[in-house]
Amino acid sequence: MDLFLQTLLNGLLQSGIYALVASGLALSVGVVGIVNFAHGEFLMIGAFLAWAASASLGIDPLLSLPVVALAVFGVGALTYRVSIRHVLLAPELNQMLLTFGLGILLQNLALMLLGGNTRTVSTPYQASSLQLGALTVGGPKAVAFAFALALLGTLYFVLYRTTLGRQMRAVAQNRRGAQLIGINVDRVYMLAFGVSCGLAAVAGVLVSVLLFASPTVGLVFALKAFAIIVMAGLGNLTGVLWASVLLGVSEALVQTYVPGGGGWSDAVFFLMIFGTLVLRSFRGNR
């Protein structure tokens, strides 16, 4: 029983990061209408910036987080200005190719500048752990989860309680309609894309604490984020939360209970995406 609860807890903790990465992606897909295949690279940038601040200036990643978030928000907004903006009306395929190109560019820039090694960040709470009755939680995991929750809370507050958030949701639901009621769609796009990248970077900071920073660290998170937003349904910003929990928990369950679990957990995960998509497609309104 304890093992089961511990597994659930581990899954839940993991889902915090998933939700951050996926909410960011959901903004760029849902609001801007761009499937950003470079999303994982913005996470990678966040992880490296956190590592750099920690390694060279001795600043704890959690302290550098706001600065990193802002910086990457700026990079994202700039990216929107110089590239994304020009393919908004282009075929979906061209948009995909553009962001693929961006991903390749960023990933290999990191590889060229920093090499392929993984960089770990050391923090004072690295080896600490938290005891909750019979359950144990690693210190970094607990801290990362707390941060993820706080950030998600802020994000959803912004989305549902502020003018900008309402505008973003309006655009996500009905582009033309939003334009007609006088929303500056271009500006909303730029901000949404910036926030999207910023969220990925924030997740990257947390990943640098939990795992490491490396040029390719973003890929697997980006893939999972795609799966999550697809399961939630494109443009469904709240659906992202439960889909993240579902994914994190089922991954943890497979790791604990399936023999040779680590290797198979990816298969289960991708099978879930595949099954969800296919089943949903055959349940249409006919």
Binding site: H86, A90, N94, L97, L98, F100, I104, L105, A267, F270
Partner: protein
């Protein structure tokens, strides 16, 4: 409508078609002459680049074939991998290579029918993600099967194609590219072309007009996957060694896509030109800017989308998209 009129139907601007055929002809003549040129002491290396350019051409053109029916797939690595693994395992089981090659391709073709059958109702990004997930499932399964079955994460050794004769391997790849081009042109000139284009540009409208969407989507899947699997066989026979991570890598699904878009979508010439230009550019960059070559490669892709949205072929094919050879 009932009586067949004697009046000739005006033929539609054939000019580009001839130019495209001419360009294809020139490409094949040059490609055929290449291994017989005095290539000096870098011969092996150049033949290898040539070989993988041809493989990239097969991958891109076969991907384009599927995309023409509106199915933007990220499962090409799966068919490539199924070809490579099918070939390796058949050889291991004692099947002669000449039979193992088509059998591996047909296996991939069969799997593609299953995949196409269940993804039939998905479109756009949902379809792309489902096919990506499918690829990952296949990879993980192969990776986690006992090593005695398919080599597990460590991979498999594969006997060299044609005893390792580089020129022979190159010519075999060229023959298979020619086959792919033949299929592509045959599709272009047949009923399939109209069915694919109609489904891509309006699936429901196509059905209302009597297009059997299920049949044609599956046909596109089958043709495309068989050809991609042949590319996988070539790869396996050239590199001697295949592993799940390399063979089923996401890059193998993405580069056919980028290559086709870069060269010109829904054409026969475009994907081949794209493969040639990108491969050669990659090698040149590799030699000049060393590690940074992928940085430049990424930048080139971005700039080409921003400034050359219809690919290379679009440069002299103004006007419409999608109709020409």
């Amino acid at each position: 409508m009932s009586a067949v009129s004697a009046r000739p139907v005006p033929a539609r601007r054939p000019t580009f078609a001839w130019r495209a055929l001419l360009a294809l002809g020139i490409f094949f003549v040059l490609a055929l002459a290449f291994p017989f040129l005095p290539l000096g002491d870098r011969r092996e290396f150049l033949l290898q680049i040539g070989f993988f350019t041809l493989v990239a051409g097969i991958m891109a053109l076969s991907w384009d074939l599927l995309a023409r029916s509106g199915q933007v797939s990220l499962a090409h690595a799966a068919f490539y991998g199924l070809g490579a693994y099918g070939y390796a395992l058949l050889l291991k089981a004692g099947v002669p290579w000449g039979a193992a090659m088509p059998l591996a391709a047909l296996t991939a073709g069969f799997v593609s029918l299953l995949l196409g059958g269940v993804t039939m109702r998905l479109s756009g990004m949902y379809f792309a993600i489902a096919t990506l997930a499918f690829t990952e499932v296949v990879r993980t399964v192969i990776q986690n099967l006992p090593e005695s079955v398919a080599g597990g994460a460590n991979g498999l050794l594969v006997p060299a194609l044609l005893g390792g004769n580089s020129r022979g391997q190159y010519l075999l790849a060229l023959a298979l590219l020619l086959l792919t081009v033949g299929v592509s042109l045959a599709v272009r000139l047949s009923k399939l072309h109209h069915a694919f284009a109609a489904i891509r540009q309006g699936e429901e409208t196509a059905r209302v007009l009597g297009v059997n969407v299920v049949r044609y989507k599956l046909a596109a899947f089958f043709l495309s996957s068989v050809l991609a699997a042949l590319a996988g066989v070539l790869y396996a026979g050239k590199t001697f060694f295949i592993s799940p991570l390399d063979t089923f890598s996401l890059a193998n699904s993405i580069s056919p896509l980028t290559t086709s878009i870069f060269g010109g979508l829904y054409t026969t010439l475009g994907p081949i030109l794209g493969a040639t230009v990108l491969r050669v550019a990659e090698e040149l960059l590799h030699n000049t800017v060393k590690n940074g070559y992928l940085v430049v490669y990424g930048l080139v892709l971005m700039l080409s989308i921003l400034w050359l949205p219809r690919g290379i072929v679009g440069l002299w094919r103004r006007g419409r998209q999608g109709g020409d050879l």
